[in-house]
Symmetry: C2
Subunit: 374 residues, 2 copies
């Protein structure tokens, strides 16, 4: 069974097909996890295995057709989809390619994700062969998918609200979970377990760091370094529920905090306040960036001050100078200001918000203004 | 710091460059998680974010050059790599593309993964532009990477042995973790936490199912269905340590088991015994398949009876009729027989083994011959 009622997927398909008609696109060709889930509700951890390929063709009219390995045909048939064609796999290459070519042959103008945020989850040699076999014009589906998926439905918002609440409950337990003498590995493990205990389905993303004035980067895995008094510990998680991600972090000081770290946390808090004040429909992503950057002064190496989220840990838009996406109700964003503190050490905070007709709704329990000392 | 000593990466690079010389390849172009980790030790959960692109160019002589977003430059510099070039990202598209084109321009014959198990983790439009800008000949790096990565080093084997041991300890706790009345969601959650408690770093893969004579498929996520007496519950996990996966499952009957389920479990056990007896250096993957298939009779929809594993949940080779890969010491494989039990219900068992000079080493604690009833 799919995660949402059929009406959710019917509405998505109707919006997609209307956009396809407007753009003169005959078919969408999709092969990645988030796209297949968004259109059909097909959800499995089996995407972890790179061996098998999963294809979906969305025509301008009628139901999508899925072309999948036999191992996944039963689960795909539970999805919102028309025909499900199954092929033997693995079989040494080109599995399903003949069927895929036949499925796409009637279409003169085919869109597939080729740009921002996109990747190709099939063998490049097979995709090249597919293009060569078809006389079709290929266009980038990324802008169309961005417009469709950036605005979340009420059902999606409910799930996102829930996973953010779960994350907030887990972060509230940090004082009992971490402390001096514990390794970062131990802190990561305790927090990951807390997320699951609070109701997360899985925790695909957990990064963090610790140091007296922050951390060197925000993407490192756990290490065996032990926490010591005076450290600022940051944990940043993308926990998931029903396939949807939260993405936020919290900072805590172990025992005591440097003045620089306290000041940085306060600056980050104020930058987020500026973001919350600016996050209104009609505001552009770049405007939201500048509202926050104005509080921060010079930036960090992160390259943006937030982003969309949903079925992916990070999605369009980027809160960055280049992104002129206009905010609209239903968008779910992170506000993620970062600041250099000292000697290559940085600090970052993150909240998740929903753009509404008025002030944004905070999906995460707001971080404290003062850096908590535990 | 990298997960292994520098000598490990030096040896990998030397083997890769020798293979490149043999194949007349001037440079390898890589952009996916497992490839970058294998060559440089760069490991981060940040691959979850599709926004940023990570490029590695391995020349036939000398150290690899990494070209990465600024957010990851510090972590990449800790890796086994020569130059680390950083670019601003996100920036609206084509981030790093000019630098990448310049890096690859001196190379006449460039290999990138295009075949079995491969995907392209960059914007297709940007890859097309890269190919158009260069006069290079592009060849498939998949066979070369397969030969290099299929044989695990002693250091890799030690990590794989450890994560399999962790998984075995967690599975040994199943009788205390699951039971009648519990939902599948609850069972998944309890087992995921047990894996972390036993020492897993994360659990990217957990699937399973339950029913009186097995389960409809082997890739479904948890559901709210409650376990009842007579169910066969299967949990299959890819837990990870230092980036390396175990991949195995266990079946338990809740309260009591049908005769058909007990018989199927015994058949699967005997098929695995046949696999263990056949898994010797010089045996081909297809021979190993047939040794197990001979015990099973008719097959299931899974399409193979095991596969390699390592930095990916599933890797080459496939234990399947088409795969003539010759087994060699250092290969780590799953033996994964499956059988239809009744009415569309199937059962599957899985063990992880190391190919040695003699009999294979079981990395997982062998499943019991009789279906355990709990």
């Amino acid at each position: 069974m799919t995660d949402f009622p059929v009406a959710e997927y019917e509405a998505r398909l109707a919006r997609a097909q209307a956009a396809m008609a407007m753009a003169g696109i005959d078919a969408l060709f999709l092969n990645t996890e988030a796209e297949l889930n968004w259109f059909t509700g097909f959800r499995t951890a089996f995407w972890q295995s790179p061996t098998r390929r999963w294809y979906l063709v969305v025509p301008r009219d009628g139901l999508p057709t899925a072309l999948v390995p036999r191992i996944g045909a039963a689960l795909m048939r539970d999805g919102f989809v028309g025909d499900v064609l199954a092929f033997d796999a693995p079989a040494g290459g080109n599995e399903g390619l003949g069927e895929l070519t036949a499925l796409l042959r009637p279409h003169a103008r085919i869109a597939t994700p080729m740009g921002e945020e996109a990747s190709l989850r099939m063998a490049l040699a097979e995709f090249d062969a597919l293009r060569a076999a078809l006389g079709a014009e290929w266009v980038d589906a990324s802008p169309l998918l961005k417009r469709l998926q950036m605005i979340k439905s009420p059902a999606e918002i409910a799930v996102l609200r829930e996973i953010c609440t779960i994350g907030s409950r887990a972060f509230a337990r940090l004082p009992e979970l971490v402390g001096a003498g514990q390794t970062l590995e131990g802190a990561f493990r305790a927090f990951r377990i807390a997320l699951l205990e609070e109701g997360a389905e899985d925790v695909p993303y957990l990064v963090g760091g610790a140091g007296p004035n922050g951390y060197v980067d925000v993407i490192s895995p756990a290490s065996t370094r032990a926490l010591v008094a005076g450290d600022v510990l940051m944990l940043d998680t993308g926990a998931r529920l029903g396939g949807y991600f939260c993405d936020f972090d919290r900072n805590v000081a172990i025992g005591r905090a440097s003045e620089a770290a306290c000041r940085a946390h306060e600056t980050l808090w104020r930058a987020t306040e500026a973001g919350l004040a600016a996050a209104r429909p009609g505001t552009r992503a770049c405007d939201l960036f500048h509202a926050m950057a104005g509080v921060l002064g010079t930036g960090s190496d992160i390259g943006r001050l937030g982003h969309g989220l949903g079925l992916r840990l990070t999605e369009w838009p980027s809160l960055a100078p280049h992104d002129t996406t206009v905010l609209a109700p239903g968008m779910v964003l992170t506000l993620e200001p970062s600041v250099m503190v000292a000697d290559g050490a940085m600090m970052v905070t993150e909240e998740n918000i929903l753009i509404t007709d008025g002030a944004p709704e905070l999906l995460t329990r707001r971080a404290e203004r003062e850096l908590p000392v535990i």
